[in-house]
Symmetry: C2
Subunit: 303 residues, 2 copies
């Protein structure tokens, strides 16, 4: 069996989603799905997740065909399900329902082949499970951790413990303000550095993102889309792209992460153009490089 360079822990979900552009039912979703699919443009990641017997075989086949390793899947009766809707501010979903029982059964045991992974993305999931994964790693080179307001509200202590063991925190701007109790992302970044993080990547939805390290800041706008159907999974595909790119390059210097952030912005912007994985399924290297070059030009001013 191959030893994936990048492993991703997160959810595999069946999503019901409603946006001004339409609705989908039982669509493939979840943080590990978007993140690993995005990462698969750069490397062959392994997923650590839990999945129910109700998950259509075609969904798992789709992932397998992208070279995503599924031996880290734990099989249970029902899949995690999430219902969400977007109105007005497309950067924030309203949760309509969640069926979390499968996540409570999830043990987050790593297959033997995953314990030597150098790159680890702890995608959005209970920090308790993120900590379990960290404890099983033998020689991680770069651990990135994503989270959400739910865990800040309900699992702050475990979340902080997990963050202290990560290299990079990937978080929404509102959540960064909440977690670090400040109005200014600059202060949030300074507090993040004091926890021992090397990087904090602050996502601002279609307003782009910032990355702060100890002495530097990096920033990009989002791609100005003509169509935005469903932002679900944009944050996950952004994080997955960055980690896939780092794993491909075998390098975690700041400049490589900056390039990864641009690839992440490219792939996340495509993701928003259609529901579920529909747009990522149409994506290829040529389209990715095309939009990457537009990002280059959007930033250039002949200095």
């Amino acid at each position: 069996m191959p030893h994936p360079k990048l492993i991703i822990i997160g959810t595999i979900a069946l999503d019901n989603i409603s946006t001004p552009s339409g609705t989908v039912k039982d669509a493939l979703g979840g943080s590990a799905v978007f993140a690993s699919y995005a990462a698969s443009f750069f490397t062959k990641p392994g997923i650590v997740s839990v999945v129910g017997k109700d998950m259509p075989k075609a969904h798992l086949k789709l992932l397998r065909e992208r070279g995503i390793d599924l031996q880290g899947l734990q099989h249970v009766k029902n899949s995690f399900r999430w219902g969400g809707s977007y109105q007005g501010d497309m950067n924030e979903a309203t949760t309509e329902f969640t069926e979390v029982a499968p996540l409570l059964q999830f043990k987050a045991d790593l297959p033997e082949e995953y314990r030597d992974a150098a790159y680890v993305l702890l995608a959005n999931i209970d920090p308790e499970l993120q900590l379990k994964v960290i404890a099983q790693l033998r020689k991680p080179k770069f651990i990135a951790l994503d989270t959400m307001n739910l865990w800040i509200d309900t699992r702050k202590e475990q979340l902080m413990k997990a963050i202290r063991q990560a290299d990079a925190l990937i978080i929404n701007d509102g959540e960064a303000r909440q977690l670090f109790n400040t109005s200014f992302i600059r202060h949030a970044a300074e507090k993040a550095m004091k926890l021992g993080l090397k990087y904090i990547i602050i996502k601002k939805g279609d307003n782009g993102c910032f990355m702060f390290s100890r002495n530097k800041a990096f920033a990009t706008q989002g791609y100005p889309l003509r169509v935005l159907k469903d932002p679900t999974g944009c944050g996950d595909s952004f994080a997955g792209s960055i980690m896939g790119y780092l794993a491909m390059k075998g390098n975690t210097d700041e400049n490589t992460i900056r390039k990864g952030i641009i690839y992440g912005s490219v792939i996340a912007s495509y993701n928003a153009q259609d529901f579920s994985l529909n747009q990522l399924k149409r994506l290829n290297q040529r389209l990715i490089e095309k939009r990457y070059r537009i990002f280059l030009d959007m930033r250039h001013f002949g200095h």
Copy 2:
């Protein structure tokens, strides 16, 4: 008398402002003030505006000492006054009161020396007055027009007429969506090009800005501040910086405008650090270039 390369029409105001950081009363403000002060770091602009006898002499002296030409001022009894407050979203002011009588007396007559100006900033003011200025110009090279939701609501026809005669429209993202009746700034930009504009610069407050031309997009984030006391005048100082930079360079190619936008972002970010013109008064070339270089590094990823 000198012939200013750049003239700026807009307001000179006495502002009462309240933000989470404090309040000021009778502070120097107005679109022409912030724009011309910012432009004065690059060129010696002339102002076309109306001012009351109640305006403290020190305020006008401050402008004169920056090399700003005041022969385009019309003197009336009372100054334009604006009261505004910011809560929560610092990108949007709530207007508490306006005293607009002076603006109704304002004739917007250009001194003879101003009619040959190559660079013209029609800062935020009644579009009727912007049109009057345009009609007096002999050989404008580059006209930029700023506006606000009030004029979209109450003077749409005159505003559209003025926009059709401008080279660049500088506008907030919410106002761009309102003016062009779309959710997507990309669509707004396409509609702007159809009106004959060469550029539309869409301001997103502390989320930075986009510039669109016929075939290209340019984008930057705002500077990540540690302190934000009062955003009043940020949009005006941004526009004034761009136009001052173009006038200094004597050039309106797209790359020069892109650099001007970065200078505008630098100066607007400083402006937000204190009330009224307090921070701009402390500014110098060294501080401007220092933050400009940070913007360069924030954008760089070794491509």
